[in-house]
């Protein structure tokens, strides 16, 4: 691979890479606002200016500038090299680039910072971006001077509603056009543009339109400053109180990589932040996914139930034992869940196949839904591929309904709360489920299966338990635990262990590690475990 020099480092690059791109791939950041690895080049912020040393046979390109000499009380004509935007300038073999080591670059960065903050309201105390704002970070890294312009700044519209989800503040906007480019190039809904001229510029929504599509939340995440914020997160939390884990969105089979931000003091999730993964979601997530962080707190099943009544875990396990003790094993169906992790499903497989020794395997999950050509998959379950890898023989839910209707199946041990039934099929499913003598399930949420179950053992949600999910491409991804399990819920693999023991079996697993070591062989070859490909700055947005 050809290389070039960036300060004192040697950077390999693919022909066609810009300087900033090549550096980014090596985990080296050249300061930038308008550049985004997933968008076209605008080169308008000028924060990424670098000095390119002239080749041996080349004359340096210089510019005449003026310096005021306060001692001599006169101007001094000086020269400076012409700097180039690293986001636009293509890397070439053996090129020498100065970034942090050039005084001219340092001066240019400080100048751009000063220009950007010239008319900025500095309303950080009431800005949701504070703590993760490039203007703040770069001020500290590259400027650190007081404001020289002490007059009233230019005022522009604030708190403009762009649509159902997004609010715009023109005074905080650095006019980087990332938002315009995102909706044009990625969301394919070019509703944003710039209007006015000079320092009166502002972003606006096309007349007659709203910013209302499946990717509006990304506005917040492409915006490097606090100009675009979501109505959902506005004034909800200060980001420095939030902690993050690497998580995987549960919304569909795409399995977008994300950070789940939570506040441990309140044991609550606050938001998702898309996490870069070139092979899965690049830098993006859809709106349905972005709001699904709320699922950790909505519609949850948090206490054990027996025959519809809240009970204790002991009572529920006792009831399960009573109901299932001595029943013929081929009257028991095991129902895996595409909404649960590989670990949970593995535990169920141990119980069903190895301990109870029934061959009746089915799988359940949420019904199909909306899809698009960008990210959204019609399969609304995060682990359909995982369940299929784990239990190849698992039959679809409709087969379970048939089995129950015919009376061949009388007992069900299941994972999850949802059924893949569409509205029309729901009644048939409910009737069939109603015929079962016993349904035992470990759901995280309410759903048709939870509703029908005689015994409910509450499971921790993805936010509360670490788990592995296989997306539709067969990529295995790990999602980490954020908050503590709520109510009496426990990770489903643990609940299933307790159930196994209650039924008189010896469960071989007590720790997540026990399961993970035994899962590691599964699907090998075609399913790499794969959390993030490029993730140079674990929690920083590009």
């Amino acid at each position: 691979m050809p290389t070039f020099k960036l300060d004192d480092k040697t950077i390999p690059f693919e022909p066609g890479d810009t300087i900033i791109q090549a550096a980014h791939k090596q985990g080296i950041e050249i300061p930038h606002y308008c550049w985004h690895p997933g968008l076209s080049i605008a080169a308008n912020c000028r924060m990424c200016l670098v000095e390119i040393l002239p080749a041996k046979d080349q004359r340096p390109l210089t510019l005449d500038i003026l310096e005021w000499d306060p001692v001599a009380k006169d101007y001094r004509a000086v020269k400076k090299p012409k700097l180039q935007p690293a986001c636009q300038f293509a890397a070439t073999e053996n090129m020498e680039v100065l970034s942090d080591l050039s005084d001219h670059v340092k001066k240019a960065r400080a100048a751009v910072q000063e220009f950007l903050l010239l008319n900025h309201p500095v309303d950080c105390p009431i800005c949701d971006q504070a703590g993760e704002c490039k203007l703040q970070d770069y001020w500290l890294e590259h400027q650190k001077t007081q404001k020289r312009m002490l007059d009233e700044p230019v005022h522009k519209p604030k708190a403009v509603s762009f649509g159902p989800t997004i609010v715009y503040d023109a005074e905080r906007c650095v006019m980087c056009t990332r938002c315009i480019r995102f909706f044009d190039e990625v969301a394919h809904d070019p509703v944003l543009d710039m209007r006015e001229r000079g320092n009166l510029n502002e972003i606006f929504v096309a007349p007659g339109r709203q910013l209302d599509n499946k990717y509006t939340y990304m506005a917040d995440w492409v915006c490097p400053v606090g100009a675009l914020t979501t109505k959902d997160f506005r004034f909800k939390a200060r980001v420095w109180f939030l902690r993050s884990v690497k998580s995987v969105c549960q919304g569909c089979a795409t399995g977008c990589n994300t950070y789940l931000d939570y506040d441990s003091r309140f044991n609550r999730t606050y938001r998702y932040r898309p996490r870069e993964n070139e092979a899965v979601n690049k830098y993006w997530m859809c709106d349905d996914g972005m709001v699904s962080y709320k699922a950790a707190h909505e519609d949850r099943v948090l206490e054990p139930r027996v025959e519809g009544k809240t009970s204790s875990l002991g009572v529920a396990l006792e009831a399960a034992k009573k109901k299932l003790d001595g029943v013929p094993r081929d009257s028991i169906a095991i129902v895996y869940s595409a909404q649960h992790s590989l670990e949970d499903n593995w535990a169920l497989r141990e119980l069903g196949k190895t301990l109870i020794e029934t061959d009746r395997a089915f799988w359940s999950g949420a019904p199909d839904g909306y899809e698009d050509k960008i990210l959204i998959h019609k399969d609304k379950n995060p682990n359909t591929a995982g369940v299929k890898q784990l239990v190849e023989s698992a039959k679809p839910f409709s087969a379970l309904v048939e089995g129950l209707a015919s009376g061949a199946i009388k007992h069900v041990i299941a994972l999850g709360g949802a059924t893949p039934s569409t509205k029309e099929e729901a009644d048939a499913a409910a009737t069939a489920l109603g015929k079962a003598e016993t349904i035992n399930t470990n759901p995280t949420h309410h759903g048709a299966l939870t509703q029908a179950a005689a015994i409910v053992l509450p499971a921790s949600s993805w936010a509360e338990a670490s788990g592995t999910y296989v997306n539709f491409k067969g990529i295995r991804q790990q999602s980490d635990k954020a908050i503590e399990s709520q109510g009496s819920s426990k990770p489903a693999w643990q609940q299933i262990g307790l159930l196994a023991r209650a039924l008189g079996y010896e469960a071989s697993w007590t720790k997540l590690r026990d399961i993970r070591t035994r899962l590691s062989g599964l699907g090998e070859g075609n399913a790499p475990v794969h959390t993030t490909i490029t993730d140079p700055h674990s929690t920083e947005a590009p």
Partner: protein, 461 residues
């Protein structure tokens, strides 16, 4: 040295000089284009054009023939000629006179240029406010089309050429060539990133040559005279700055005008011979040589080029006002030729107000795309307003050079330099005047851009 010529301006002042009959009578109407399109090859046209040493008349002074030679036939895409008639540079109104008084030279120039660069379509991008200019161009195109000069088979050749007039919306930045291409495509008038240059991907992503309107209007003359002969009319032929061009003089002179001359005229000649001298016979305070983006010159400045190898050496020790107006000579004295329209400021003009006036223009016209220009131009204007109002500190005055230097070279398009360079010029040359405002010795309300003079002198013409 003044050498009056009358190629482009023959039709100026003639009855219906803008119509085809006048053009045919006075300017060999379309004979040159006929000859070129029917007897020359494309390559020969470009080679010949290079010999004219015609430096682009739009401001940057790029050699026109060289620019044409950048055009390479594209396997799938058509090529375009885009003629820049946005003429927004303060102090400049030369292109307007051509469109109003000799529009056929533009149409004929388009035919030859299109043929030379391999284009079949020319767009003339005209600044919106120039209603008469647009009408005259449209009429000229219609006349030429009626005669079969423009259209499918000009002069019976098999080289179709269409010429269209496209109207801008009155933004100075749309004169910047890539901004103009965006505007032409119906997009926001913002300069594009380069590369790709217009010759690689210009209008509608196709190879495009952008030339100033005067550049194109000079083409028939060039080919009629022979390009080498054309070049040699210039006193700066040896500096590859050839031919004749429109010179303008405006501001505080008795006879502001646009006139055609061979290249080689000095600023002093422009003021006193062409401009008829300064209003009220006052002294000259300063001169802006070629539109507001070119740094100001003062009469007391002299050329310093003791080295014989220095191309400026012939003028060593002389006043900058005695240097011929040329692309490289003006660069040699620390400014630019720009649009070759000299703005004269008489003694008594307030340079601080003039400075602020210009910066207000740049603040207003910045497209706002890139940070240093968007914010810097506003900051310069704001500080100058404070200085005029007597509210600025010496520190704020000191900061001005830093603001301008921070814009310089750090922007997407040359607008940034167009703002910073004149700003640095004013600072360097009028520091005492600026300080006088800061110290309260002068008051903004007394500042004038006009100078008073006797009514009888005005009638001297």
């Amino acid at each position: 040295m003044i050498k009056y010529t009358n190629y482009l301006t023959t039709t100026y002042g003639q009855p219906e000089g803008w119509k085809l009959p006048a053009y045919e009578k006075l300017c060999h109407g379309y004979d040159t284009a006929r000859k070129v399109l029917t007897t020359m090859t494309r390559e020969a046209v470009v080679d010949e054009a290079k010999k004219a040493n015609l430096r682009g008349r739009g401001g940057a002074g790029f050699p026109m023939g060289v620019k044409w030679s950048f055009m390479r036939p594209h396997p799938t895409k058509p090529a375009y000629l885009v003629v820049n008639a946005d003429e927004g540079e303060p102090g400049t109104h030369k292109d307007r006179t051509i469109m109003e008084k000799n529009p056929h030279s533009v149409v004929e120039g388009c035919l030859i240029a299109c043929y030379g660069i391999g284009a079949h379509v020319a767009y003339i991008y005209v600044r919106d406010e120039l209603h008469l200019a647009k009408r005259r161009l449209e009429e000229a195109i219609a006349e030429a089309r009626a005669r079969g000069f423009v259209g499918k088979t000009p002069f019976g050749s098999s080289y179709p050429v269409e010429v269209y007039v496209h109207t801008g919306a009155g933004a100075y930045i749309c004169g910047e060539e890539t901004s103009m291409l965006n505007s032409l495509e119906g997009k926001r008038g913002e300069p594009r990133l380069k590369p790709p240059f217009p010759a690689q991907a210009g209008s509608f992503g196709c190879p495009t040559t952008v030339n100033n309107l005067e550049t194109i209007a000079a083409v028939p003359t060039m080919f009629n005279l022979g390009c080498d002969a054309f070049s040699k009319m210039s006193a700066l032929h040896d500096m590859k700055d050839g031919g004749v061009r429109l010179f303008g003089v405006n501001g505080h002179v008795k006879k502001p005008q646009i006139i055609e001359l061979a290249v080689g005229v000095t600023i002093r000649e422009m003021i006193y011979d062409i401009g008829g001298g300064v209003l009220g016979d006052k002294d000259v305070l300063a001169v802006i040589p070629g539109g507001s983006s070119t740094p100001i010159l003062r009469p007391q400045e002299t050329v310093h080029a003791p080295d014989e190898k220095n191309p400026m050496h012939p003028w060593h020790g002389k006043s900058v006002f005695d240097v011929p107006l040329g692309v490289d000579t003006m660069r040699g004295v620390g400014t630019m030729l720009g649009t070759c329209c000299v703005t004269v400021m008489a003694e008594g003009t307030d340079p601080v107000l003039a400075f602020q006036n210009l910066m207000q223009f740049y603040k207003h016209e910045s497209c706002g795309q890139c940070t240093p220009c968007r914010e810097g131009s506003g900051w310069l204007d704001r500080t100058l307003k404070k200085i005029l109002a007597g509210k600025a500190s010496m520190k704020e005055l000191d900061d001005l050079s830093d603001i301008a230097s921070n814009i310089m070279g750090n922007t997407i398009c040359a607008f940034g330099e167009g703002t910073a360079m004149p700003a640095m010029g004013f600072l360097q040359k009028f520091r005492p005047e600026l300080e006088a405002y800061v110290r309260g010795e002068k008051k903004g309300k007394d500042a004038r851009l006009t100078v008073s003079f006797e009514a009888s002198e005005q009638a001297a013409e």
